[in-house]
Amino acid sequence: MEKNIIKSQNTGDSCIHVKHKSGLDIYICEMPGFSSVEALFGTKYGSINTMFKMRDDKEYTVVPEGIAHFLEHKLFENEDCDVFELYAKTGASGNAFTSFDKTCYLFSCSKNYQESLKILLDFVQKPYFTQETVDKEQGIIGQEIKMTNDNPDWRVFFNMLRCMYHTHPVKIDIAGTVESIAQIDADLLYKCYYTFYNLNNMVLSIAGNIKADEVLAICDEYLKPCEDKGLETVFPDEPDEIVMPEFFETQPVGTPIFQIGYKCRNCSGEERLRKSMAASIASSMLTDASSDMYKKLLDEGIINSSFGSEIFDGDGYFTVIFGGESKEPAKIRDAITAEINRMLKEGLNEKDFQRIKKSTYGMLVRELNNVEAVANLLINSHMDGVGPYDSLSVLSELTSNDVINFMRDELIPERLVMSVVEGEAD
């Protein structure tokens, strides 16, 4: 196996990538001076992957909403014990999460990392589901769903996605619904497991106080070779148009919260990274606390320091979101569209553009200061089809023209939606 060293030309940081003979992509970052270790073993399988087939299958399989998340919960149970009990013997803190496009199993520790790594590699490759354990989990996940439904940040976000997407499963809740998870049984879990938990569809990232050779020796011992069965996931056709321009929900909240989002055209790999970086600079310039728009909205009491932006993108979706707390979100929506028009007409202030670029660079450098952030960077970048340090190089090449072009092509008023969660009295 060849150890490919990936180095950042901008900061000098480096990591190792290995395409393991089992089919798994492995990223290792030794971080001298740090005590902790963070490892993530993930599969490109999230809540959006509800329709799939293997090369030899004739038909696509469609599965209930929330099954990737359900599977994540159930994989934590072995035939004879709970995985937490295994980690209890090493002291590592084990966890897992399911997002829209991935499921990751992780641990962090500062001692016995090799033993914890063995546990991680072993249990993720050993599914064990029975109807009895599946039934037991319905109650726990049912409470998780209720908890997130009481979270206004979660609600405002999904309501916004439902305003944007007609068919793409990004609009469904990651954990599904109490009704959808009731359709899950052990056989269906096995089917999803053997489809998506193929090492050719998975990544291991590990960073911190480790030695690459020790990690690879454990991988050689624990990884079971997998045949690449040609997994295909598909999404229903999604039109460019939005579903509805706004949605309001009433919940017990102290301050109303909002999200204003542009539905943009999706793309993948390096193109998505370039687009994401242009989008990030564009939205940072729009929410820049030194801008006239920010000052005006703040002076009028329409926004507070919670006002910010994020880029939310993945397989088949790309959005630019502005959010925060406000009693008058419609005025923020108007201000953003007016400011975009002004920028398109007058062009970007080059000095402001360079300043925001420097600020973004600083944020990327800080990310490399933290073991957990580095391990996440390694796995996320691979799953996005780019290199770990590509963000830095793409950023350094980005021009103000790229940003203006993005704004002109993608921040289109007709594709703007607004979601608000407000209290009864608001």
Binding site: Q143, P252, V253, G254, K295
Partner: protein, 422 residues
């Protein structure tokens, strides 16, 4: 190169710690003002601290200050207010990338130290009060922070439970005070409160960076020498007395999931045994509460215990269906009885120790963790190293944990109830 830690005293009895660790790509400075938590000053102190990082005499508006920070590679500068038992911890914190990562060799560190120095010692003051615009922005912000507490249901329930548990004690107050108090304050009140903090608060400063900075201590000392400092005495540990009868309070909201917070108190002086008790009882995914209330009974997604050593209190919180509240409460108390009766396995003890060992060994992997560690040492009045703390835990016997468990008594309960079942 190993980390170098040094604490010195500056003029005015101000503690200054430098923590030098070459692995970091950032520098940071954290100034903590430590004062008694009091309902009459909580809001004004929190407000005063927030205005400091909204503008300065050099960067006179939030816009100008933010423009400068983004020029300095997105350096961060913010204020905070927290509660630690009966004590209010206020502060200013800043973080920036090391000069070696700057494109054109800019002196980012020097510029950031100048900015912080101005915010703290040359704030934006006009005619004896904070600049009106900066004050207004900050006041609105603080009112929104207080209102927004309800947005996080779990956090809100914990905060309400704290009010009930510590009724009549300083810790019943929020670190932000109340909305009513904030609304009544003026810019002059806030500036006067800041001047008082400069004189009377205990002040601890932490500088965490990859390289020594020889000028910063002298510079800070020079400023503090001009202030008539008379730091107040602070008592960091004030155990809360347990009630003779358990009090239950509840609120109703239009929520899908109810929350229950159970406040427990202890009169044990054995803080290491209490921490191990809490860890085994409900701080990990192999704890008694997780394994039984969640895994065996499927009653919840979370059920966890946390200890509040400064108040000798423990809190168990759970998100649960209304119809299962009594069942969950009975099981939590049953698990407590299990521990009181000595039902603690060797594996449970060993696992708790491994968890604590891993957590303690990670101190130093972020600038914030170093600062938190040394600040905790200051509050506890010891100079313990991480490995010494672990030795203390390791020396705790099962008998000591059982003794600690037997001092734990239920004090009060807070319920956030749904409306539908009414």
């Amino acid at each position: 190169m190993p980390m170098k830690y040094k604490r010195t005293k500056l003029a005015g009895n101000v503690g200054f710690s430098t923590i030098i660790d070459e692995k970091f790509k950032t520098g940071s400075l954290l100034i903590r003002f430590i004062t008694k938590l009091d309902s009459s000053t909580a809001s004004v102190n929190a407000l005063a601290m927030s205005v400091l990082t909204c503008s300065s005499s050099k960067y006179t508006t939030l816009a100008k200050l933010n423009e400068k920070l983004s020029e300095l590679y997105g350096a961060s500068l913010s204020s905070f207010a927290r509660k630690r038992g009966d004590v209010q911890i206020l502060g200013v914190t800043a973080s920036w990338i090391n000069d070696r990562y700057a494109f054109d060799g800019e002196n980012v560190t020097g510029e950031m130290l100048d900015i912080i120095k101005d915010c703290v010692f040359a704030p934006n003051v006009v005619n004896g009060e904070f600049d009106a615009d900066s004050y207004r922005i900050t006041q609105n912000e603080l009112l929104d922070r207080i209102d927004a507490e309800l947005n996080n249901k779990r956090g809100y329930a914990l905060s309400r439970a704290s009010e009930i548990a510590f009724k009549g004690e300083p810790a019943e107050n929020s670190c932000y005070g109340t909305k009513e108090a904030v609304e009544k304050l003026t810019s002059k009140d806030a500036y006067e409160a800041y001047l008082k903090l400069l004189e009377t608060a205990q002040i601890e400063i932490h500088y965490v960076a990859s390289e020594e900075n020889n000028t910063i201590a002298e510079l800070l000392s020079d400023y503090f020498s001009k202030i008539k400092r008379a730091p107040q005495d602070i008592v960091f540990r004030t155990p809360s007395p347990v009630r003779s009868e358990v009090v239950t309070e509840s609120d109703q909201f239009d929520v899908r999931q109810c929350k229950m917070v159970m406040n427990f108190k202890t009169d044990s002086d054995d803080r290491y045994a209490v921490k191990l008790f809490s860890t085994i009882f409900g701080e990990t995914p192999v704890s008694k509460l997780f394994m039984n209330v969640r895994e065996k009974m499927s009653l919840c997604y979370y059920c966890a215990c946390r200890s509040m050593a400064p108040k000798a209190a423990l809190t168990v919180d759970i998100g649960v269906e209304r119809e299962n509240i009594e069942k969950a409460k009975a099981e939590i108390l049953r698990q407590l009885d299990e521990m009181k009766n000595g039902n603690i396995s060797d594996e449970e003890l060993e696992s708790a120790l491994l968890t604590l060992d891993n957590a303690i060994t990670q101190v130093g992997d972020t600038p914030e963790s170093y600062s938190s560690w040394y600040f905790e040492r200051f509050c506890c009045g010891d100079e313990m190293l991480p490995e010494q703390l672990f030795t203390e835990y390791k020396n705790v016997t099962k008998e000591r944990i059982i003794q600690a468990a037997n001092t734990v008594k239920l004090d009060s309960i807070y319920l956030m109830l749904d409306k539908e079942a009414e």
